[in-house]
């Protein structure tokens, strides 16, 4: 018998038909894999997928997989949330092939909850587990009375600065108030006309939001059944006016965060400081390998001189809506946020400087973190104080995508006749419009 019984017929139909058949099969197979991937009924370890981007995540996943045999985590690194990661997750949720568990930052969590992309994990998270995290972190992961995510870190804003540039400009101690910060900015510019004390990030609304938060702003207040939305409160007005003046007087650079422009400016010593989050130290360590020992960290300056801080980002673990393995997912999330082994794996070699949301892990993180960039400074001691000074009362709204999008677009104009106060007013308008469009109640 001929080994190719169908060869003649196939050639009669031409390669086109074969190609189409093959394509159809591929499509069918692909669909089948999507629907039938759930193997919870089968014996053996439960396999879950996880998407994230925070530093040291691969190490945490490896350590978790090595530590037990019941749950296998498949980790896929995605771009950072605002750099396309959230778009990817949203798309996957919409398409029905979302990972079981993924990272979301506090600002975006209400957005994800509101559009039904994550599931309520109240049942899997008992009270004694909740008590292992800082109450601020629990407040921000509890929305409408239900628990939606487990907090990984909290991210108080911190002022990082180049000690050598400060010395050259004859500044002896880091600024405690925003007035001092402005005076120091002038000194740095005088010492080197190309250098500036810090950078205003037009692409990253969260940096400005943290400063509004620190100044006492409260943009969203959840009332009984409606949001009270007021962006232009006293605190926010103060922060907006201050930063616009810094930009108008050319005392800060204006450049996108983590852009080539910003990084190059840091590397060339033309940017002497960074108003970043606690996790920023780890990121800087890998960006500026040859500035060892030249950096130091200080608490955020404030308007009245008493310690206060807002947060920039801060990550949580959330379980996607359609995941049928919530239990395994929460088990992994719990391990990754509360165990010593996880924080050691994450922080090893100073790659991450996340400040754990579980207070018990802070000493572990502190002893594991080594950064050549900051010499021997006790960053975690500083973060602890900063974490305590995070102002209570700030809540993130459920349409931060629209809020931040509007802010970013207007921040682009701050050097060209626009201003921050107007940008905030526009953002409030866009936010209220979006909330109403989605049927969410707004007052004020």
């Amino acid at each position: 018998m001929s080994p190719f019984p169908f060869s003649r017929r196939r050639s009669a139909h031409g390669p086109g038909v074969a190609a189409v058949t093959a394509l159809g099969l591929v499509t069918l197979v692909a669909c089948g894999a999507g629907d039938g991937a759930d193997s919870s009924a089968r014996k053996g370890p439960v396999s879950i997928t996880f998407w994230g981007w925070t530093k040291g995540t691969q190490e945490v996943v490896d350590a978790f997989n090595a530590s037990q045999n019941d749950v296998r985590v498949k980790f896929q690194e995605i771009p950072a949330g605002n750099a396309g990661g959230y778009a990817k997750i949203s798309n996957a949720v919409k398409a029905g092939n979302a990972p079981d568990v993924f990272n979301v930052e506090y600002p975006q969590l209400p957005d994800f909850v509101s559009r039904g992309a994550v599931q309520d994990i109240s049942e899997q998270v008992p009270g004694d587990l909740k008590s292992r995290y800082l109450p601020q972190a629990i407040r921000m992961t509890t929305l409408g009375g239900a628990t939606w995510a487990l907090p990984l870190d909290i991210a108080p804003q911190t002022f990082y600065y180049r000690t050598d540039i400060f010395e050259k400009a004859k500044i002896t101690s880091p600024p405690k108030t925003w007035d001092e910060f402005r005076a120091d900015a002038q000194k740095i510019k005088e010492a080197d006309p190309q250098a500036r004390i810090a950078t205003f990030f037009p692409d990253d609304a969260s940096a400005f939001e943290a400063m509004a938060w620190q100044a006492g702003g409260q943009w969203f207040k959840p009332e009984k059944d409606a949001w009270k939305v007021d962006f232009l409160d006293e605190g926010t007005k103060k922060a907006a006016g201050y930063w616009q003046k810094m930009i108008d007087d050319d005392l800060v650079h204006v450049a996108p965060s983590f852009s080539q422009q910003w990084t190059a400016s840091l590397q060339k010593g033309r940017t002497a400081g960074y108003l970043g989050a606690s996790w920023g130290a780890g990121v800087m360590g890998s960006t500026l390998p040859d500035q060892s020992g030249k950096w130091a960290a200080a608490p955020m300056p404030t308007f009245d001189g008493s310690a206060a801080s807002g947060m920039v980002g801060g990550s949580t673990f959330a379980v996607s809506k359609d995941s049928e393995k919530a239990e395994a997912a929460v088990r992994f999330a719990q391990w990754a946020t509360t165990t010593e082994a996880s924080i050691k794996a994450r922080i090893k070699a100073g790659a991450s400087s996340a400040y754990p949301a579980a207070p018990k892990l802070v000493p572990v993180a502190k002893s594991a973190f080594k950064s050549a960039l900051f010499g021997d400074q006790d960053l975690y001691g500083l973060y602890s104080d900063a974490a305590k000074s995070i102002r209570p009362g700030w809540a993130w709204g459920p349409v931060m995508g629209a809020t931040d999008g509007s802010l970013k677009d207007s921040f682009a104009k701050v050097q060209k006749g626009g201003d921050i106060t107007t940008a905030v007013r526009e953002a409030e308008k866009a936010t209220t419009k979006e909330l109403r469009k989605r049927g969410i109640k707004v007052t004020g």
Binding site: V20, A87, G116, Q260, G401, I440, K441
Partner: protein, 316 residues
């Protein structure tokens, strides 16, 4: 033209199709792959997009109590058309086309004519060298140019600064994007025009030279009218391609906040879908963009159709 007469003759004397299963089945079978693919990758997604565009997602209270899909009819269309950001996107696009299309088509035409002229040396080399940028994927091209635009990083910006020239490309999105697009597409269109020029019968050109036409006159009065169909086609593709502008500004967006999130209509749809999670609005914006593209293509083919028809008449 001489060649077309026998062809038409054959067409006339072709026997009528013999009725029979085998014969009538073959064309259908041969066309099937096309229609299957066309349905799967073009019609179905368009249908789905139209379907999506008619719905909105609604919540209630604080917004944490679940999502309801509501039929909103043309609501998403009116909110897209009522959104200044969406209309601004079309404005940016118009401005971009105004600079890009004449510049790119003009440049590629000029290069093609130069290559085609008897004076050109090393034709093969220049053809390849000019075409090479097109072989670079759009994303990579945008990344390279972003690097070249970025102060503190780019040698070009550095050189310009030391020469006292200060022009921030990142602060001026239209020239920044036009420049990338011209770099990417000039070589491609140049090849199309060059191929069309090569197909012009040589005796025509020789006759012109014998009649005493200078090279410039030959180019303008003989070559240009004869390659008009290619020109029209290139313009058509460029217009449609321009409407879909996305990759280059999206990449630049990371370095240049002036390229706002809704800088082109496609970016508006992207932001609506993946940053604001309003799939209905995103679908409506996409459908509106597709309609604009269809209308524009129709217009261009109509305008050019008349002319190339006339040109053919003149040839005959």
């Amino acid at each position: 033209m001489a060649g077309s007469v026998p062809q038409r003759a054959t067409a006339l004397i072709r026997p009528a199709p013999v009725p029979g299963r085998h014969r009538s089945g073959a064309p259908a079978l041969l066309l099937l792959p096309f229609f299957v693919l066309f349905t799967a990758v073009t019609l179905a997604p368009i249908g789905y997009a139209i379907h999506l565009s008619l719905y909105s997602e609604k919540r209630s209270g604080l917004g944490f109590g679940g999502v309801q899909r509501v039929f909103t009819g043309l609501g998403n269309y009116t909110s897209a058309l009522g959104d200044q950001a969406f209309l601004d996107g079309f404005g940016n696009l118009a401005l971009y086309c105004l600079f890009y299309i004449p510049l790119m088509i003009g440049l590629s035409l000029l290069l093609a004519l130069l290559l085609d002229s008897a004076l050109a040396r090393a034709k093969r080399f220049f053809q390849l060298a000019l075409f090479l940028p097109h072989a670079v994927p759009g994303i990579i091209a945008a990344l390279i140019w972003m690097y070249l635009y970025t102060p503190n990083v780019s040698p070009v910006v550095g050189a310009m600064e030391s020469a006292g020239l200060e022009f921030s490309m990142l602060g001026n999105p239209v020239p920044a994007v036009v420049n990338i697009a011209v770099w990417e597409w000039t070589g491609y269109n140049m090849i199309i025009f060059f191929a069309a020029l090569q197909a012009i019968p040589r005796e025509l050109l020789e006759a012109a030279v014998v009649d005493g036409a200078a090279p410039l006159r030959v180019a303008l009065s003989i070559k240009l009218p004869l390659i008009r169909p290619s020109l029209v086609m290139a313009c058509l593709f460029t217009v449609i391609g321009s409407l879909q502008l996305f990759t280059e500004p999206m990449i630049l967006h990371g370095a240049a906040p002036d390229v706002v999130t809704s800088w082109t209509p496609n970016m508006y749809a992207y932001t609506a879908a993946f940053e604001r999670n309003d799939y209905g609005l995103a679908a409506a914006a996409s459908v509106l963009l597709a309609l604009a593209a269809a209308a524009l293509s129709f217009l261009v083919t109509r305008l050019s159709g008349g002319r190339s028809g006339k040109a053919k008449g003149a040839e005959a």
